[in-house]
């Protein structure tokens, strides 16, 4: 077919699906986060590995795990600061994301790191961080109910009207 005089026809469209999905065996993590600002990991009954995010079975031993409440403090394993991103988040740049290993956990979870000093030298490996939560009523039992801040900014963040400390 000739490409000359080609004219394309475009149609505007969306794909939209609503969900009400179950968290299955991990439900306790989200319920305790929402109600009590607890960070519940799981510990393998056989090897003792502490999973965070939690798993109700240990993927290494194929054995059951048990719930274990973890402290709200931890350390950045690796991080970045995002300046350009997806359509859902582009209004929020810059923001920092980091893999954070909670004290006593063996695996790291992805979370946002909020800071008054959003620079690579402050948000980096080894930085001690502490969890800050949305106020009761604002928490929905989702990962966005909390975030981390550098330890030395903790008091400052929990004094803001929209947030509170957990412990």
């Amino acid at each position: 077919m000739s490409e000359k005089d080609f004219q394309a026809h475009e149609i505007r469209d969306q794909i939209h699906i609503d969900y009400k999905y179950t968290l299955g065996g991990q439900s306790k993590f989200f319920i305790d986060l929402k109600n009590d600002k607890k960070l519940q990991g799981t510990r393998c009954k056989k090897c003792g590995k502490v999973w965070m995010p939690p798993r109700i079975a240990c993927s290494e031993c194929f054995e059951d795990t048990e719930w274990i409440e973890l402290p709200h403090t931890g350390e950045i394993m690796v991080s970045t600061i995002v300046w350009y991103t997806t359509s859902d988040f582009i209004q929020k740049v810059p923001y920092a994301v980091a893999f954070i290993k909670l004290d006593n956990a063996d695996t790291g979870m992805l979370q946002g790191v909020f800071s008054e000093n959003l620079v690579p030298s402050k948000i980096r490996k080894g930085q001690k961080v502490k969890a800050v939560f949305k106020k009761e009523g604002e928490r929905k039992g989702k990962m966005t109910d909390f975030f981390f801040v550098p330890e030395n900014e903790y008091e400052n963040w929990i004094s803001k009207p929209e947030y509170e400390g957990g412990e």
């Binding site: 970045t80 600061i81 995002v82 582009i90 893999f99």
Partner: protein, 415 residues
């Protein structure tokens, strides 16, 4: 078995005159033409089975897009299966096509990848990219990671930043050198989307995406299709193929998609395992691989990841990837540069060619095959050993990896 035909459409930001299945048809026709120039005399009716590499239903705005291609390319009433493994879709599709022929299920198999991302459109910014990135971000864990604003670049940058913390490299300058190399190589590739003659400073002062990746450290998303025709040894003889490119090694592995579960954040054991098993199958030595191959087409979705891949694929020791690209920047004849000791991405790679996800690894494999036929065009590199590799990675945390080893007749007899 051998690759007997290669078809690659130009990688472009946008094909206004093609749907994804029309693009898939174009690459199939190109691959058939190439096979026929390579001694065969076949049509689409001779193809016995198809393996489709298509990453993202949201790009194509169609679930099960493979069956619509199957209809369009005249493959009704024959077997066809689809592979979707993120950025590694292409490499994994070659692996499955290899299995189709190696198992004896098929003697003539079409390996076909396509992607058309830029139908996604962000109404708020009036541009495509944020919505393309959103369609990709749904590949992250939807409960724990997507809500944090995780995306492809922030996932890859985690590996690179962890590597830099451990070894002090790649530095931002060394990463920029990968960008200079691959954009520069693309100048010689007429199918490339982003040919550019640029400097290290041009990269360093381009727009920040996520620290320390800048705009020019990142590949662009493309629309394109790529196809290979694979034939069994018997079929190669029967058809009288002049330059069969034998697939002698196929390796794949998936590392943990949750980066926080990994013991070493600064490397992908998937790459290491995929490379080791592919080399072993081909009878090559991981510790001396650089001396055993002529060229490598790598998965440089982001400049820093190419540097780490030099190490994971065994070209240099861990921690020496950054210095290796820098050596070649200073001294022609060294490093992964076009004139270097092991040219990496003479096609321009993803940074130079663009990234049409499902098609990319098939393009890389096809490019390596054309190099071994000394038929790559202006970006042909010297072929002495008769061996090449292609490499694909992708998915959440770049968890998927595939490595393919190819050899021409000399490569096989050199062993």
């Amino acid at each position: 078995m051998a690759i007997i035909g290669v078809g690659i459409t130009p990688f472009k930001a946008r094909y206004m005159n093609r749907t994804y299945f029309e693009l898939a048809y174009d690459a199939t026709k190109l691959a058939l033409n190439d096979a026929n120039e390579n001694g065969a005399s076949i049509s689409h009716k001779d193809l016995e089975t198809t393996v489709y590499g298509i990453y993202n239903e949201l790009f194509e705005r169609q679930f099960m897009p493979d069956i619509f291609i199957n209809s369009y390319i005249g493959m009704n009433n024959k077997p066809g299966t689809r592979i979707a493994s993120g950025g590694a879709t292409g490499g994994y599709t070659v692996r499955m096509a290899y299995s189709e022929v190696a198992s004896g299920l098929s003697d003539l198999c079409l390996c076909l990848g396509v992607e058309k991302c830029n139908d996604c459109y962000d109404e708020k910014t009036g541009t495509t990219t944020p919505e393309v990135l959103n369609a990709i971000a749904y590949s992250a864990d939807m409960t724990y990671e997507y809500p944090m604003g995780m995306m492809a670049a922030s996932s890859y940058v985690s590996m690179v930043n962890a590597h830099s913390e451990e070894f002090g490299n790649p530095t931002e300058k060394q990463m920029a050198m990968v960008s200079v190399k691959n954009h520069g190589n693309a100048m010689k590739n007429p199918k490339a989307q982003s040919p550019m003659e640029i400097s290290v400073d041009d990269v360093l002062y381009s727009r920040i995406i996520c620290y320390p990746f800048k705009m020019l450290d990142c590949c662009l998303y493309s629309e394109a299709s790529a196809a290979l025709i694979l034939a069994s040894e018997e079929k190669v003889k029967e058809l009288g193929i002049e330059q069969p490119i034998w697939i002698t090694g196929v390796g794949a592995a998936n590392t943990d998609c949750f980066i926080g579960n990994r013991e070493d954040l600064g490397r992908l054991y998937s790459n290491i395992n995929a490379a080791k098993s592919a080399y072993k199958m081909a009878g090559l030595d991981y510790d001396n691989i650089k001396e055993q191959i002529d060229v490598a087409e790598l998965h440089d979705a982001f400049s820093g990841q190419e540097v780490i891949s030099y190490e994971e694929l065994g070209f240099v020791k861990f921690g020496e990837g950054g210095p290796w690209i820098e050596q070649g920047y200073k001294n022609s004849g060294e490093g992964p540069w076009f004139e270097g000791e092991l040219p990496c991405n003479p096609s321009g790679g993803l940074i130079g060619c663009g990234h049409a996800v499902g098609a990319t690894g098939i393009m890389s494999t096809g490019e390596a095959a054309l190099q071994l036929r000394e038929n790559a065009g202006e970006h042909q590199v010297p072929i002495e050993k008769g061996r090449a590799i292609s490499h694909s990675i992708g998915g959440p945390g770049a968890a998927y990896a595939a490595v393919i080893v190819m050899e021409n007749e000399e490569g096989i007899s050199n062993k």
